[in-house]
């Protein structure tokens, strides 16, 4: 007990000493801080009194911090100014000045942030929120490019575009015997090696004399088929292109700086059939097409008599319909068929209904409703396609692509759908035998796992003027899969005509006269999870709107990731030029790769437009041109730490025992640890862990993560919020960059669940000042308005109709009543007309014998203040019938459902016969 007292006394004395020491330390700190916080002011006016407050910014001096925040405020004003009215400009300018004054007089980090926030809100309050049904779909390409620039700038500023690492372009070497179409790479086209190029000498290595002048290339694996209609990758598509003809193709301009779209199977550019308003857009397009009358003939290299009989056979008009039937008949199980039927872009009217109705084979009745037909008029042949939505002439051309190359039905009957463009079951017939070509080449030899050879097609439409190369020899070269230098070794030995230069050979061959550089089709990014706890839970928590996560599986959010300045620091810390140069790729800060076209018809890359340059201005100014600046990175890290400490989200350690900020980077493949992760880690850690940032109080540590399969980083990490930083890219239609901006939306309906960067509510018009034509929009609202149309309420994108279904009730007379309440988002611009309601027999369909039936049922409609109520009555007999199983099930669930068919007129545009579906159960 005595000892205990002694120990307690010693402990008490010790505690007092420590407390005193701490007080002394704090006092010392204060003494130190005051002069450092005020020197600028002292210089400015020596007569001024020392400030009556102590600046609490831990790592940034007061003036510097305020300067950065003021810069952010001015940047907002600068961004929105071109879209403001003169009155708005004056009001915004005043609000900015007021905000700057408030920032200048703020006395702490949080006070500066608050002053900024107030000024931001004040600026936005000067701009009218957009309202009404908005559609900018018919704007010119230049105007749409401007909107694209605004959306991109939104993404760049809010960070939802992620941090771009590189664009997947490369350095390519060509054999000197190849004369390229152009020496300068044309974005979206290439060098025109085959189309406009030529081969001027024999390939010595080739032992077959007939193939010495063929273009020699390679594939790592034999795809085993040329049937692109049934393939989901890109490899078969590349091979299929050799033999396929499209309605339209592209050829290099005579100036060799771009390309033109040229009719190939078509004879002229398409003509709109139902362009009622004369704006050039229509759903129905007519293509004048070539047939045997114009000398269009099939070619095959098959020696099998039944196949060889098709050689030089003329193309008949009805042959143009065959590929549509082939693809869209579900029983054929063709991958591209399902894709075409379920497509929303370039969807053909009635295609999906036909697909669903053709599970058992071709369905004549359903086919009659598909929007494709052929006919002759005044001796000319035409194909008419009706799309589900209006397209301009370019997209009408674009969507009539090579998938629909004509083929005679009797040829399909002969070779069978399963074997078309592929092998038969016993491999006695090869793709040479089971294909007919209309393209520039036709298959000459297919030696499985060894080589695929294509020969120039004498019957090709442009055989005399283009494609001087006599053939293409594709060597199957599996060594390239495991040995990065295998292909270049083959090239250098004179066995191939072209190759990409691998990383280890770049220094040696970058300046070789045979080397050319290309741009890429995708920008690879580090995607960011910038959510705070509340947002994360709302999106991914137990009742998350995106996905539902059990509490014990909640992601451990890192506070630094939600700080915009920290993420900006990461972006500045990446030396993209060195990173990309070492790998032969293209350094880039862009969200969209160079292959994305703002004007696809004329081949104008979006990356060359002013709209894009303005969007990324903030990323590249005061950097090496590719967004790298170690000074800026460290400055932004200092800002971030200052803010995070002021917000009490992080606590500093000591240089001896620093607070470690662990960030996980999720990658696709284990090999990416050496390929990318180690260097990225070095960039980030070197920038952050420099003593000038926090004096060693914090330490950034990047950790590597990889899943079982490459797609885990998407499905198990980024798309479900279980990540800090995730590596990946999504590619869209390079001819429609505006449409591809959908993946930036936090709305899963818009992004099709492919949101990879989280943290900003893209349907909040106050999250960022997205101003168009003097009105304030949310990202989602402007995106939808630019691509189709948007119902905008207070700047937000809204569903035109809000449907609430009230479940079936049984009435005394045995009938059943259900109710649908339809609320209009903008009643004064919306009109709906209920056409019919059908009751569906799901009981027998799902739980019985698979028999499906539906029957119209009576309904009444009442309307009040923009709310329409539809009351449905199901007759007792029908309910009794539908509620009954077929007798084959013991589990009668009495399931049913309704389809409400209606027309909607929105802002003067009417869409007819759309439906809303419900599921229900007949109560006992």
């Amino acid at each position: 007990m005595k000892n205990m007292k002694k120990i307690l006394s010693l402990a008490l004395v010790g505690a007092m000493v420590v407390s005193l020491a701490a007080c002394e330390k704090k006092a010392n700190n204060e003494v130190k801080t005051t002069p450092t916080a005020a020197p600028t002011k002292a210089v400015q006016s020596e007569t001024e009194k020392a400030p009556a407050y102590v600046w609490d910014g831990a790592y940034v001096e007061e003036d510097d911090y305020k300067a950065y925040i003021t810069y952010d405020l001015e940047a907002i004003s600068e961004t929105i100014e071109p879209q403001l009215t003169s009155a708005q400009k004056t009001a915004v300018s005043a609000a900015v000045e007021k905000g700057k004054a408030a920032i200048a007089s703020a006395q702490s980090v949080t006070a500066v942030q608050k002053a900024y926030q107030n000024a931001y809100t004040d600026i936005l309050s000067k701009i009218e929120l957009a309202n009404g049904v908005e559609s900018f779909v018919k704007l010119s390409r230049a105007e749409k490019t401007d909107i694209l620039g605004m959306l991109e700038k939104y993404g760049v500023t809010t960070g939802i575009t992620g941090v771009t690492l590189f664009e997947n372009g490369s350095y390519v070497m060509y054999n000197p015997r190849i004369t390229l179409g152009t020496e300068n790479y044309i974005v979206g086209y290439g060098f025109g090696a085959l189309k406009e190029g030529d081969i001027t000498a024999d390939l010595e290595y080739e032992t077959n004399p007939a193939w010495k002048r063929y273009y020699h290339t390679s594939e790592t694996n034999d795809p085993g088929t040329l049937n692109y209609l049934n393939d989901q990758g890109a490899q078969v598509g590349d091979l299929y292109e050799y033999l396929a003809a499209s309605y339209f193709t592209t050829f290099m301009k005579s100036t060799k700086d771009g390309y033109d779209w040229t009719p190939e199977l078509a004879m002229e550019k398409p003509v709109p059939v139902n362009d009622t308003d004369g704006d050039g857009a229509a759903t129905k397009w007519r293509f004048q097409i070539r047939t045997e009358k114009e000398g269009l003939k099939y070619t095959t290299g098959s020696k099998i008599p039944s196949r060889a009989a098709f050689n030089n056979r003329g193309v008949k008009l009805e042959d143009y319909l065959t590929p549509y039937k082939l693809l869209l008949t579900q029983a054929n199980n063709l991958y591209r068929g399902s894709e075409a039927a379920n497509s929303t872009s370039g969807a053909i009217k009635g295609a999906k209904d036909y697909y669903n109705a053709s599970k058992d084979g071709f369905n004549e009745d359903a086919w009659k409703k598909v929007g494709v037909r052929v006919y002759e008029e005044n001796g000319k042949s035409y194909l008419e396609i009706e799309f589900t939505t209006e397209y301009d002439r370019f997209y009408a051309m674009y969507y009539s692509n090579g998938l629909y190359m004509p083929v005679p039905q009797d040829f399909i009957d002969l070779v069978t759908v399963q074997n078309y463009l592929g092998f038969n079951k016993t491999a006695t017939e090869t793709p040479v035998d089971n294909s007919l070509s209309l393209g520039a080449f036709y298959p000459e030899a297919y030696n499985s796992d060894q080589e695929i050879v294509f020969k120039k097609n004498p019957n090709y439409v442009f055989a005399d003027s283009k494609y001087k190369v006599q053939g293409v020899h594709v060597k199957i070269f599996p060594a390239a899969e495991t040995d990065a230098s295998a292909t270049i070794n083959e090239f250098l030995a004179g066995h191939f005509d072209a190759c990409s230069i691998p990383m280890d050979y770049l220094d040696q061959y970058r300046t070789d006269p045979r080397t050319r550089s290309t741009t890429g089709d995708s920008c690879f990014k580090l995607n960011m999870n910038a959510t705070d706890q509340a947002t994360w839970e709302a999106l991914f928590g137990v009742n998350g709107t995106v996905t539902q996560t059990e509490k014990d599986a909640y992601w451990n959010l890192k506070p630094v990731m939600s700080n915009a300045h920290f993420r900006k620091g990461l972006s500045y810390a990446l030396d993209r030029l060195s990173f990309a140069s070492a790998r032969g790729s293209v350094p880039s800060v862009d969200y969209l790769s160079s292959n994305y076209m703002s004007d696809p018809e004329d081949g104008v890359s979006y990356s060359t437009t002013e709209a894009h340059k303005n969007a990324i201005k903030a990323l590249v100014e005061e950097t090496d041109g590719y967004g790298y600046s170690l000074e800026l990175a460290r400055e932004y890290f200092r800002l971030a730490l200052t803010e995070l400490e002021a917000e009490k989200k992080i606590t500093p350690g000591t240089p001896e025992n620093p607070t470690v900020l662990d960030i996980e980077v999720a990658w696709q493949r284990p090999a990416q640890e050496d390929q990318y992760h180690k260097e990225v880690k070095k960039y980030f850690e070197d920038a952050f862990n420099d003593p000038s940032v926090s004096g060693g109080k914090y330490k950034l540590s990047l950790n590597f993560w990889v899943g079982n399969v490459w797609s885990d980083v998407y499905y198990n990490k980024m798309m479900v919020g279980q990540f800090d930083i995730g590596f990946g890219s999504i590619s869209g239609n390079s001819l429609d960059p505006l449409g591809f901006m959908n993946v930036l939306s936090s709305d899963q309906e818009i992004s099709h669940s492919f949101t990879l960067n989280w943290g900003t509510d893209t349907n909040d018009p106050l999250s960022y000042p997205l101003v168009y034509d003097g009105k304030l929009y949310s990202f989602d609202a402007l995106f939808n308005a630019a691509n189709t149309s948007a119902v905008v309420v207070d700047g937000k994108n809204k569903a035109a109709l809000d449907m609430v279904y009230t479940q079936l009730k049984k009435n005394d007379d045995g009938t059943y009543t259900a109710r649908l309440t339809v609320s209009e988002a903008i009643p004064d611009q919306t009109e709906i007309k209920i056409n019919k309601v059908v009751c569906c027999n799901y009981e027998r369909y799902n739980n019985g014998d698979g028999q499906y039936a539906e029957e119209e049922v009576p309904f009444t409609v009442s309307e009040m203040n923009g709310v329409t109520t539809v009351t449905v009555t199901v007759p007792a007999a029908l309910a009794a019938d539908y509620a009954t199983g077929s007798g084959t099930t013991t589990k009668n669930e009495r399931t049913t459902g309704f389809d409400f068919y209606y027309d909607i007129t929105l802002g003067g545009n009417t869409t007819k016969d759309i439906y809303y579906s419900t599921n229900d159960v007949f109560p006992e």
Partner: protein
């Protein structure tokens, strides 16, 4: 003897069956890959998987299946639910087709629609030819070197051979082929850098064998050499050989009549086993040199997850392995009549 052979063959069959069954289940338990894309791509992908039999598709949710892989958007009150077909169900159906129809399935992605056995048969010839030439080169060369080293034991010749054997046995054939390619194909341009295609000239085809046969043989030559040397050295020091010499036989006579004959008793079955084993090809070597044999096929279809071909390939490799074990055991009896297989005590 016959009873013993039958018993061993049954055992080999059971072993093969167990190996294949375990491999089937493990392969099918691999994580399910899926594309990155919107509903359009997802539906197309899962419809395709459904048509291939990998995925089950229902219009109602099922709780008697595994985890839900994908749920298509609601349309006219209906949607499709895609579940992975339970592995056991896939296994029983696969087994049933083999047992009842001898149908080993067909290729789903490697060479779509072609029968798995046809694909295997079209490739097995390349592996056999390659390994046949390799055996022709490696067996005599390996044995001769082994004998020479044993006879010259502890001389410079023996040391040189043993050192070379140690060096080359340590170099994997994929490293060796890289050197061979760099020197003879890329630098000197004497030999083809890849396997010549069927359309190549006869001369090129012959030259095409040199690099892979050499690389495949080096390891075997070294193994045979080392084994023969060890066996022969032991016999050369044995009492019976001393007796043979004391009976008046010359050293040559003693070696040829007694030492070699006795040394071959353990060596010959081992060589036999090696030769049979060579039929399975060399996965890495075939891949690196682009030889369209069953070794390369194995790696390719594993990457493609084209399981029907994989299991035929695996069945062949496993059968070769188990049968070679049986043949090996039986060969002892033929080579040395003193050994009786399955004889009662």
């Amino acid at each position: 003897m016959a009873k013993y052979v039958i018993k061993r063959l049954i055992l080999a069959f059971v072993t093969t069956f167990i190996i294949l069954s375990i491999s089937y289940v493990l392969c099918k338990l691999l994580p399910f890959d899926r594309p990155i894309g919107g509903d359009q791509q997802q539906i197309a992908y899962f419809d395709k998987q459904y048509s291939l039999g990998y995925v089950a598709r229902f219009e109602v949710e099922r709780d008697d299946y595994g985890p839900l892989l994908y749920k298509s958007p609601l349309e006219r009150g209906r949607r499709n639910y895609y579940y992975q077909v339970p592995v056991l169900k896939q296994y029983t159906s696969w087994l049933k087709n083999i047992c009842t129809k001898w149908d080993w399935g067909y290729s789903k992605s490697f060479q779509p629609n072609v029968s798995a056995s046809v694909i295997i048969m079209s490739r097995v010839g390349y592996s056999i030819k390659l390994n046949f030439f390799s055996a022709i080169l490696s067996v005599p060369l390996g044995i001769l070197l082994g004998i020479w080293a044993a006879l010259k034991k502890n001389t410079m010749t023996d040391h040189t051979i043993s050192t070379l054997v140690m060096v080359f046995i340590s170099v994997p054939n994929f490293v060796l082929i890289s050197f061979m390619l760099r020197i003879f194909a890329y630098r000197l341009n004497w030999l083809p850098s890849t396997w010549p295609t069927d359309t190549a000239s006869a001369g090129t085809k012959v030259l095409g064998y040199i690099i892979p046969v050499f690389c495949l043989s080096v390891g075997s030559i070294c193994s045979y050499c080392r084994y023969v040397r060890a066996e022969l050295c032991e016999i050369l020091e044995s009492d019976f050989l001393l007796l043979a010499r004391t009976k008046g036989l010359t050293r040559k006579q003693a070696i040829v009549r007694h030492a070699l004959k006795n040394a071959m008793v353990p060596i010959f079955p081992w060589i036999l086993g090696e030769i049979i084993g060579l039929l399975s090809g060399s996965m890495i070597l075939e891949s690196l040199y682009g030889i369209p044999g069953i070794g390369k096929l194995f790696i390719t279809v594993l990457n493609y997850k084209d399981f029907d071909i994989l299991f035929v390939d695996m069945a062949i490799l496993t059968t070769i392995s188990t049968v070679s074990g049986v043949v090996l055991d039986l060969s002892y009896g033929f080579i040395d009549p003193r050994i009786r297989m399955g004889a009662k005590k």
